[in-house]
């Protein structure tokens, strides 16, 4: 069972403090949507408003075709997996999973059937008689998911459920969550501040910042065509390079973009007439900045730190005017800190951000 979630003009205020401002979002049935943003951007608050754990100050929330923002949490048809798992410590795994079903008066046989089935799905059948204190972090995580599954909810809500797991387990659980979504086909909303989780799990990512939604898009749209300087800087590791603009000249498709650090660059852009270079910046990802073999003319970069990741090498350094820049090269690079390297940019992968942070993407492909 899966349902659409419709968030319409939702705001949240605590007294004079505004946390979320006029948020609208449509989640399709069966879609896996990830709310991604830095700490304090309101992503958890928005999730908790869908769950009914926080009141909505203004606006409406619907699950399926039912308006739910006035209903208590238990009547909304959603299930939530908490960051801390919030398992009842004095109940066994089976009791934890069946508690919600007992509360709605489901017949005993049906409860047992659902618990057994969910336990089999999550491979926790052998843990059903244990208490949460006797489980490992990963097992608790599964029980928390099992407690959600048995309810057969219209939508699953995950509040940073992987952040308490160690790195290896986090990777494995991420994969299992993706498989679970494929198997159940349920609507899922997942809150995280980890961009790897967002990129790998999401059908669509909702980037949140500053009380609002910054961009909604598929992982590759977010990565390739960030809507704003914030999104460009937040998604991707290492973060996108930003270089201040000095001038933009030329008309038609091909523009000459003047910068202090990178010199003049020709690139295809369709900029609005209102675009001015004041306060604007050029953005390019490290992977689109490559290192030329010695001797060939390019953009000089004085390397400061070289990070060898095995498959690739990241070079952190500064340009002639002091602007910091990160370049990526292959894993066999022998560059070292203090070397001066020659760079070349992939001008089709350049982004321009105006003073307000609005992005314009290169059109040359």
């Amino acid at each position: 069972m899966s349902a659409t979630i419709e968030i319409t003009n939702v705001s949240k205020r605590y007294g004079a403090l505004s946390v979320l401002d006029d948020i609208s979002l449509s989640v399709k049935a069966g879609e896996f949507v990830v709310f991604l943003g830095p700490s304090g951007c309101g992503k958890s608050t928005l999730l908790r408003m869908i769950a009914g754990l926080e009141d909505v100050t203004a606006g409406t929330i619907s699950v399926g075709d039912q308006r739910v923002d006035t209903l208590p949490p238990g009547k909304r048809g959603v299930a939530m997996v908490f960051q801390s798992y919030a398992l009842y410590p004095h109940m066994t795994v089976a009791q934890n999973m069946s508690f919600g079903l007992e509360n709605i008066g489901l017949p005993k046989g049906e409860i047992e059937g659902r618990v057994q089935q969910a336990a089999a799905t999550l491979e926790i059948a052998h843990l059903l008689d244990r208490k949460p204190a006797k489980l490992s972090g990963g097992q608790r995580q599964r029980v928390a998911i099992g407690r959600a599954i048995v309810k057969e909810p219209k939508a699953f809500l995950f509040d940073e459920p992987l952040s308490n797991l160690d790195a290896a387990l986090r990777g494995r659980t991420r994969l299992e969550l993706a498989q679970l979504h494929a198997r159940l086909g349920s609507t899922m909303i997942f809150v995280t501040h980890d961009q790897v989780e967002a990129m790998t799990l999401a059908d669509r990512i909702v980037i949140m910042h500053n009380r609002g939604i910054e961009q909604v898009g598929t992982p590759m749209e977010i990565y390739r065509r960030p809507a704003s300087r914030f999104v460009a800087g937040f998604v991707g590791s290492p973060a996108m390079n930003f270089v201040p603009l000095k001038s933009v000249t030329g008309n038609g498709r091909t523009l000459t973009i003047g910068t202090d650090g990178l010199g003049d660059i020709s690139a295809a852009f369709q900029l609005p007439s209102s675009f001015t270079p004041e306060g604007a910046s050029l953005g390019i990802r490290a992977e689109d900045v490559s290192v030329l073999p010695d001797g060939q003319g390019g953009i000089a970069l004085k390397a400061e730190v070289v990070e060898r990741l095995g498959d690739r090498t990241l070079i952190y350094g500064h340009l002639a005017d002091g602007t910091k820049l990160t370049a990526e090269t292959d894993g066999r690079s022998e560059a070292r800190g203090g070397d001066t390297l020659q760079l070349v940019l992939d001008t089709t992968a350049i982004h321009l951000f105006d003073a307000a942070g609005i992005a314009h993407h290169s059109e040359g492909e």
């Binding site: 769950a51 009914g52 754990l53 208590p72 949490p73 238990g74 009547k75 959603v78 299930a79 939530m80 908490f82 801390s84 919030a86 398992l87 009842y88 410590p89 004095h90 109940m91 508690f99 919600g100 509360n103 709605i104 208490k131 407690r147």
Partner: protein, 293 residues
């Protein structure tokens, strides 16, 4: 380094010496001296005479002791559950952080700081025949006033009411502390699990504070078996010894009739009863929580 570390450990133990000496002189020594006295016919004015278990036999044969024992057991059976239930109820009701609840917490706790004399004085104003609050109220309502302090049955009840009022602060505070330890996300999970307020109380809140309920019960069993001051001042054990508790019996035998050996034997019985009651409570509740694990 190891040597200086060992020496520092020895000198550290000096810090607990003052307490240890007081503990030994005022608790450990009397414990054994009391056991020794209970085996002697002794009146504190002359040398004692060893009588073996004779004092114990005399205590068990004394109808006044048996009456006091029955009174005390009834008192504990009624007052301890009342204290636990009322303390829990108040804690649940006041487990919010508003000005009103903070004020009320202080108010309910304030009775605990009063001395037994003040407490009994206040409750004498309530229970005393003629001018007492309850007498005036029942007269206003046209009912025959009950003589609470000198009617068999009512006298022990009155002592119980004063005791519950006096002792309520500590259970309430212990329960409040325990309630505030329960993570809020358990309640959020319960809300998403469609649990009614009653189900939340029974299945989430109470199991989460089970250890504190046991702790409060044991503390109160130990305290209420030692009932003395309230009964002494409010009813003097009357009428006909129907509100005389064990400690009062021990006091009367030991310091009014100077039969110190017999009083010591009765004290050993009281010690044993408290020990068994507290242990039984402990064993029952740990076995229950183990069985459910």
């Amino acid at each position: 380094m190891a040597e200086s570390y060992r020496r520092s450990q020895w000198s550290n133990s000096l810090f607990i010496l003052p307490y240890l000496s007081v503990f030994a002189v005022l608790l450990v020594f009397p414990l054994f001296w009391g056991a020794w006295l209970s085996l002697h016919k002794v009146d504190l004015f002359g040398p004692g005479r060893f009588v073996g278990l004779g004092n114990y036999a005399r205590v068990l044969a004394d109808p006044v002791f048996l009456q006091a024992l029955r009174n005390t057991v009834i008192f504990v059976l009624v007052s301890v559950p009342s204290l636990v239930a009322l303390g829990l109820f108040l804690a649940l009701a006041l487990n919010k952080t508003t000005r009103t609840t903070s004020f009320l917490r202080g108010l309910f706790f304030s009775s605990s700081v009063l001395s037994v004399t003040i407490v009994t004085l206040i409750w004498r104003f309530v229970f005393i025949p003629g001018d007492g609050l309850l007498a005036v109220v029942s007269e206003q309502l046209g009912m025959q006033p009950v003589n609470f302090l000198s009617t068999s049955g009512w006298s022990l009840f009155s002592v119980g009411v004063a005791t519950v009022w006096w002792c309520l602060g500590l259970p309430m505070m212990l329960f409040l502390a325990a309630l505030q330890q329960i993570p809020n996300d358990l309640y959020e999970a319960a809300a998403l699990d469609n649990a009614s307020p009653w189900r939340v109380l029974i299945r989430v809140t109470l199991p989460s504070i089970a250890r504190t309920i046991m702790l409060v019960t044991i503390i109160q069993i130990v305290m209420q078996f030692q009932l003395f001051g309230q009964a002494q001042i409010m009813t003097n054990g009357g009428p006909n010894g129907t509100s005389r508790p064990l400690v009062m019996y021990i006091y009367e035998v030991g310091f009014v009739r100077w039969d110190v050996g017999k009083a010591a034997a009765a004290s050993e019985f009281l010690f044993l009863i408290i020990l068994v009651a507290a242990m039984a409570q402990y064993i029952v509740s740990t076995r229950k929580s183990e069985a459910s694990e």
